[in-house]
Amino acid sequence: MDAVFLARMQFAANITFHILFPSISIALGWVLLFFRVKHLRATDPQQKLEWLRAYRLWTKVFALTFALGVVSGVTMSFQFGTNWPGYMERVGNIAGPLLGYEVLTAFFLEAGFLGVMLFGHRRVGEMVHLGATFLVAFGTLMSAFWILALNSWMQTPAGYEIVDGQFHARSWLEIIFNPSFPYRLVHMVLASALTCAFLMIGISAWQLLKGVATASASRVLRTGLIFAALAAPAQMVAGDFHGLNTLKHQPQKIAAVEGIWETTRGAPLLLFAIPDDAARTNRFEWGIPKLASLILRHDPDGELKGLNEFPSAHPPVLPLFWSFRIMVGTGILMLLVSWIGLWRHWRDGWDFAKMPRPMLGIFAGMTFAGWVATIAGWYVTEIGRQPFIVSGLIRTADVASRVPSSSIAVTFAIYVAVYLALLAAYVGVLKYMAETADKKSYASASTDLAGDPQEYQRRGEFA
């Protein structure tokens, strides 16, 4: 097979696997800080204990998630070079510093304080521990900041000049705060908030369904619902702004997302279609008249450019068309479930014991809804940039690896096997931790000594 195609598939497999974990940990770091602060501020011993239990279970989830994020991230840092050597040779002057700053200001920060955050309770004071938790959460967010700055720059390049085929930085402010960056950053952070919220909702609902929940599961579920009910509409608004921004800078991406071949006024919003790249038309088209124009132009008769205006330089239509619908569909579902769930919970007098089991089942079924939406969203973004690696400037095919395609095929197979096995293990262990959380390590939770090294020393548990 074609080496470029294989290199792309391999990189796609890796970023797909990688994004699963940051999409949880970016938000979960802050949730842990929230749980910890709630635990510290609670005056009622029962509440204190519940927040502590929540904190402990979700710290484990965080540790596991973070570890998988790290190992797949390390892999990715190598694949920039192994799969796209020409990319770094041409835009290294711009991509390099952004990646460098990510490692220096974010990666080290997370890794440096993670040990203290996870295992340091017996050894440092409460404030130091809270500080470490904050820095891990902050580092994770910083990581997203730099990576999205680079990713956005590849979508909407700015602040550069080209000398002898090499890119040079002209203005770092323009490079970092390029036209699509603010939208992308907000969209990703909200995606993480939703992914994390639905993980909390789903796992707690599962615990309630299985009868293994303690009172802390209800607290986590409620926190997740409120969190999701706030983030979902915010995400819709952010997504709309992001779409308008994309229309301005990458109209070919929007044309593919909407499945519009010819430039049209009053374009319909297609709910179903099978775009056919070869015939340059859609089959089985079914849509709502004028709605796409209304959404994108805020005018039912607004004009939308069609794909035929970008011959040979527009992204593949079918994957984009459907990825976008999966993302938006999942998003709408998350909005409905979180609102209906919260309303029902309020009506039940904030008592999950009265929540109907089918509702809990829906919650549990949507545990990984955030992953579906996030991955679909990333595909819209990344496939939507093709055939370019830097929009309109460098073609992906021109910078791919010179490694023989057989080598890429072998390593691709190895990666996919390892990733699938780890993904299965991750989900399996989450389930196991959810079901056994209380039996396993909470027996001593009522005599919590966390954050009080003196108490440990008194008890002689601390060498």
């Binding site: 484990k60 540790a63 596991l64 570890a67 998988l68 790290v70 190992v71 390390v74 892999t75 840092s77 190598f78 920039f80 070079g81 192994t82 050597p85 020409g86 770094m88 040779e89 290294g92 711009i94 390099g96 510093p97 990646l99 460098g100 700053y101 490692v103 220096l104 990666f107 080290f108 890794a111 440096g112 993670l114 040990g115 203290v116 996870l118 295992f119 340091g120 309770h121 017996r122 050894r123 440092v124 090499q166 040079h168 770092w172 690896s401 010179r402 490694v403 080598s407 072998v410 390593t411 190895i414 390892v418 293990a425 262990v429 196991y432 390590s441 919590d448 000594l449 601390f462 060498a463």
Partner: protein
């Protein structure tokens, strides 16, 4: 050298930074990879203690690899493409090793109890795979990716020697961080790993000049030989001291940190020797640092970041080692 402009100096600063991050990586991830490999000789209870001894650190240790490779990518993009294309398969296998190891580290305590043995095996296998691949990559790199019958033998020898060095480093780490029966075992492991590591180091020191003309010229010409001879001599003394200490009761008591510290010194000296052999190339006999470097304006931008963040990183790394100083206790998320 003296009349060098700042722009010409920049690539040298960056090769230095890259070297230092790779040295820190080799020492820090070296001891935790070593501990990982030694776990196949330990009982289940001992394994828990061994993992606990590296638990708070492994993540930050691995970050130095990302920084080292990141700097190669950022500062020497041409060399990065060349090196990683040459080392494509071993790099992938190393990454698979690191992935399995990092995942197993966290899974082993969270999965069902009957799965723990499997995760432990993956942890051990991942540590070995990553170490062997790193040895192979080092061997290929040092010999300038040469073609011929002798080169694979050379790389193969280092692929065995480097894991031995990691095992010795890991064993002395355990001598420092544990006590009781596990410490006794760690001393035994150190004694077992010492001869092959020393042998490997001698072989590499002999083979490198044999395999590379430019290295031979550099080391074995007067008067340089007199000046640089201090490196192998000090290394030899340090290695002998490690062996003597391991045989004495002091290694169990107040001097338990000294074998590890001496080995770090050995790694540092080997690194100096290697740098001396390679300078001013990024890829021996093919690309000099100046040929491979990015534009000065990009390097300056990163240098500002490095100058500000590196001291901070060193400070909080030191803080973390201080928090978890002393003998290892059980890890939990209390």
């Amino acid at each position: 050298m003296i009349s060098m402009s700042f722009d010409e100096l920049l690539p040298l600063i960056f090769i230095g930074l890259m070297g230092v991050s790779l040295l820190v990586y080799v020492v820090s991830d070296g001891y935790d990879l070593g501990v990982g490999m030694l776990m196949h000789r330990a009982t289940p209870e001992e394994r828990d203690t061994m993992v606990a001894s590296i638990g708070p650190f492994w993540d930050a240790n691995e970050t130095w690899l990302v920084l080292g490779v990141g700097l190669l990518l950022v500062a020497f993009p041409k060399a990065h493409g060349l090196v990683l294309s040459e080392l494509y398969l071993p790099t992938t296998l190393m990454l698979v090793g690191l992935i399995l190891r990092g995942a197993a580290f966290d899974f082993r305590v969270k999965a069902k109890a009957d799965r723990k043995v499997m995760w432990d095996r993956l942890f051990i296998a991942g540590s070995m795979l990553a170490s062997v691949c790193q040895g192979w990559m080092l061997g290929r790199y040092v010999s300038g990716f040469g073609e011929g019958w002798n080169y694979p033998i050379f790389a193969g020898a280092i692929a065995i020697a480097l894991p031995m060095a990691y095992a010795l480093l890991g064993a002395t780490w355990l001598v420092m961080k544990t006590d009781g029966p596990l410490q006794d075992k760690a001393i035994e492991w150190s004694k077992i790993a010492w001869p092959p590591m020393v042998l490997g180091l001698i072989l590499i020191s002999m083979a490198t000049p044999w395999i590379s003309e430019s290295v031979r010229v550099r080391w074995f010409t007067l008067p340089a030989i007199i000046a640089v001879a201090s490196i192998p001599i000090t290394t030899g003394i340090a290695l002998l001291a490690v062996r003597l200490l391991l045989g004495s009761p002091a290694a169990r008591g107040g001097l338990c940190w000294l074998p590890f510290a001496l080995l770090v010194l050995v790694f540092f000296l080997s690194f100096l020797g290697l740098s001396y052999s390679i300078y001013p190339f990024v890829v021996i006999d093919r690309l000099t640092v100046w040929q491979a470097a990015s534009s000065p304006e990009s390097l300056k931008i990163i240098l500002i970041g490095v100058s500000i963040t590196l001291p901070v990183i060193i400070a909080y790394t030191g803080f973390s080692y201080r928090v978890f100083r002393g003998k290892t206790i059980e890890l939990d998320y209390a």
